[in-house]
């Protein structure tokens, strides 16, 4: 396997704050990587850094061997790097179909509008939104909007898909549906980075997990070994719990 995405000492500074601080890791082609960390760890900043929304102030980002650190977001999107937003970002007064067609037309290589709409219908069928194709995007429920985000990114024919809290705000049944969908996307050969709060979600689909804390990478490895990592336990549950864990007086890891 070869690295599809590589971060080398990637840093993003906002004023005096290093929101992402010298982070290095890479994602192999075809891998499903979990990116976790407590609130404010810098997860979303990391996505913004990779997609060029807030470009790195230090270090480099390589996509398929190419330096994309200072490319504009639309160029990075055109290379096959798609993301969903934690806070959904539909075009509210366009139909669901048009929303998805936009992804196909501007980044997915659709030749013209009709082609883009045909492709969009396929992605709507895949995400279960086919019935809502002609509704304005603003009328969708939250769960549907999350799926719309997914359909939009899929329409871009991504090689790497970054899912930013695509399950936040969903109930248990909806989360299971979403997980099944993410697995099917991975089966198509799309490399995926899952950014999540819900540990269950990350554990069940990631082959590897990286953990961010205060903008720094504190762990990188297999899900089970990362969960037993004292630094990770401390970041999530505090030093007292970590010490108790180390002493063996408490069972299990963070849930």
């Amino acid at each position: 396997m070869t690295a599809l995405l590589t971060l080398q000492d990637a840093t993003r500074r906002f004023g005096g704050l290093n929101a992402v601080d010298k982070v290095s890791f890479s994602v192999e082609a075809g891998e499903v990587l979990g990116l976790i960390g407590p609130n404010g760890a810098g997860k979303t900043t990391m996505i913004n850094l990779i997609t060029g929304v807030h470009p790195a102030t230090g270090g480099r980002v390589l996509f398929d061997g190419r330096d994309i650190t200072h490319l504009k977001p639309y160029r990075i999107a055109g290379l096959g790097l798609a993301r969903t937003f934690q806070i959904v970002q539909p075009f509210p007064r366009m139909t669901v179909l048009e929303n998805v067609a936009a992804g196909a037309l501007f980044a997915g290589g659709a030749a013209h509008m009709r082609d883009a709409e045909a492709q969009a219908r396929e992605h709507l069928r895949f995400t279960g939104l086919f019935e809502s194709a002609d509704k304005p995007a603003a009328t969708l429920t939250l769960a549907q909007r999350k799926r719309l985000e997914l359909a939009k990114s899929l329409a871009m024919k991504p090689r790497l898909l970054m899912l930013d809290e695509v399950n936040a705000g969903l109930n248990a049944a909806e989360v299971d549906d979403a997980l099944a969908m993410i697995r099917r996307i991975a089966e198509r050969g799309v490399t995926i980075i899952v950014i999540e709060h819900l540990m269950k979600v990350v554990l069940s689909i990631s082959q590897r997990i990286v953990v961010l804390h205060h903008g720094q990478l504190i762990a990188d490895g297999e899900p089970q070994s990362v969960l037993r990592d004292p630094a990770v336990i401390e970041a999530y549950l505090g030093p007292k719990y970590a010490a108790a864990m180390a002493a063996g007086t408490m069972a299990g890891g963070p849930a």
Binding site: V53, A77, F85, P90, A102, G103, F106, M113
Partner: protein, 309 residues
């Protein structure tokens, strides 16, 4: 197809006007057609891309002065008008590079300043532009009536070109991308829309026809001065017309232009002193009661009628 038919029919009706209208009527309609151009042009940047531009007056005055100065150096009429188009487009690219990264009110204010800067530039270069004294243009040959018809048809042809461009743009990738930008620029960029290139193109489209309209206007009235062709109302009225007709719709701005011009002419003739106040009241009423404009309102009425029958 339907849109092209609407354009063709309304253009033909307008074109027949000189055969039965008097010179006063022709003059009013020429002005109305000029405002159709201004309002439709504003719609490219203000309606489609959602950038509330006040730069219309700048493009208008720039076109007028480009053409007038060239004609004072004996450049032929059509060449001077074409030069006005080129000047307006180049200026839009230049200014767009400076202010199109601003959003909302910031963009509006920055675009408002542009016309004022140009006006000062003209004022301080009297050797070339005549400065505050204004500039006389060569009076064309032919009778008064023939001249009136010539400038009417020139405006009308330009208006048809402008609306035709709007029809083409609306169903194009460009139009779709601009609508994406208007609704959520960040999301549009992430989906691969080159927002800067799209906005600049929209700004160029909003400049080119206005520049030529300014040039035609200058030739039509034979004399221009900075307060006339950089008048802030040249920026405000197209915006109000687009709001009145329906922002971002295809024919809304043109309908708004005709309705407002008709209304204005009637008020102007009958209540000379309160004219400006009436315009102000219209703007306020528009914002309060008709935020989507006339065209969407008409459409929903039509839909309701169809629903009942």
């Amino acid at each position: 197809m339907k849109n092209w038919l609407i354009l063709a029919v309304s253009a033909l009706i307008c074109a027949s006007l000189p055969f039965y209208a008097d010179n006063y009527m022709l003059r009013v309609v020429t002005t109305a057609v000029m405002y159709v151009i201004l309002a439709q042009s504003w719609n490219f940047i203000g309606g489609l891309a959602g950038y509330p531009s006040f730069a219309t007056a700048a493009f208008f005055g720039l076109g007028a002065y480009t053409s007038a100065v060239l004609q004072s150096h004996h450049v032929p009429l059509l060449a001077a008008w074409s030069a006005a188009a080129v000047a307006a487009v180049l200026f839009a690219v230049l200014i767009g590079g400076a202010i199109l990264h601003l959003r909302g009110h910031y963009f509006a204010i920055a675009s408002l300043v542009v016309a004022e800067v140009l006006r000062e530039v003209i004022n301080t270069t009297p050797d070339i532009t005549g400065g505050g004294m204004g500039l006389n243009l060569p009076v064309p040959h032919g009778s008064i009536a023939a001249q009136a018809q010539f400038f009417f048809y020139a405006m009308l042809i330009l208006a048809v070109m402008c609306v035709a461009t709007a029809i083409v743009v609306r169903d194009s990738k460009l139009g779709f991308g601009l609508r994406c930008i208007q609704q959520n620029e960040d999301a549009a960029s992430i989906l691969g829309v080159n927002a800067y290139a799209y906005k600049t193109t929209a700004f160029m489209l909003s400049a080119v026809f206005v520049g030529v309209a300014g040039a035609i206007y200058a030739s039509w009235v034979h004399y221009i001065e900075p307060p006339d062709v950089f008048d802030i109302m040249l920026a405000v009225k197209p915006l109000v017309m687009a709001l009145l007709g329906g922002v971002g719709t295809l024919f809304g701005p043109a309908i708004g232009a005709i309705v407002l011009m008709t209304f204005e002419e009637l008020v102007w003739r009958n209540f000379l002193t309160v004219h400006a106040a009436v315009l102000g009241v219209i703007i306020v009423l528009l914002v309060l009661f008709l935020p989507n404009g006339l065209l969407p309102l008409l459409r929903s009425w039509l839909d309701r009628l169809r629903g009942h029958s």
